[in-house]
Subunit: 111 residues, 2 copies
DNA sequence: TTTATTCATCGTAATATTGCAATATATTAT
DNA sequence: ATAATATATTGCAATATTACGATGAATAAA
């Protein structure tokens, strides 16, 4: 019926899926990489850089802010965005936790 | 207008977003983790394990197969699914490549 | 050949996402 | 107070995703 049955899964599975969803758009990857490169930037910079409309960039920023991987601080009429280092590391650990569950040396017993 | 503007982004950005999208559902995370635990399983096992309909599981398996993170080998009426170790490692590297772009020691210059 | 088993695909309904114009809000400059 | 600047929000259309029943295809067992 079109609605994800989150109750069937663990909190960890739902959280990992949620973070993956936030990364599941090239504009949001591009925003993150631009933030890494420039350390901080404003909405308008991203409109210039990516070529999407202001409203669209704002929406993508909101989704990234929602999982707390970026943060924004108001400065006059502008909002400076940057990576949230603590959350960045915790999300990194979340993915490493998944990737390290599989031992590729075991590949002999694969199908 | 509702269609992702992939032409605005690099191949690497589109690919990373694509892989993230495949991981962006708790059922697919659960399938991957079950495959890691059991090494190999069939569609029916996952129907039992996850409590989603057979057609739904089949669809999720297809999406995982599409990015090649799992593979299926036919055995009679059954299909044995397992992790693709090579692709697993390349996807792991893809994410590490993103996560290592950000140096969290630099957090002093954050916004 | 008939029946059972297993899985993929099709069709459909419900819901979510993407993108943008228009508008609202809030601060700064004149 | 007015105008300019920067961003968020709203509303809408197009598209994508999620979920499942029903059906089809392919193999195995009777």
């Amino acid at each position: 019926m079109g609605i994800t049955q989150t109750h069937l899964f663990t909190d960890a599975q739902n959280e990992l899926a949620n973070v993956a969803k936030a990364l599941a758009h090239p504009a949001r990857i591009a925003i993150i990489q631009y933030l890494i490169k420039t350390n901080t930037c404003i909405n308008g910079d991203l409109v210039q850089e990516l070529g999407l409309a202001q409203a669209t960039i704002s929406q993508h920023l909101r989704e990234l802010k929602e999982i707390d991987i970026i943060q924004g601080t108001i400065e006059g009429t502008k909002v400076n965005y940057c990576i949230n280092p603590e959350k960045w590391n915790s999300i990194k650990s979340l993915f490493l936790g998944l990737f390290d569950q599989f031992n590729s040396n075991n590949s002999s017993t694969c199908c």
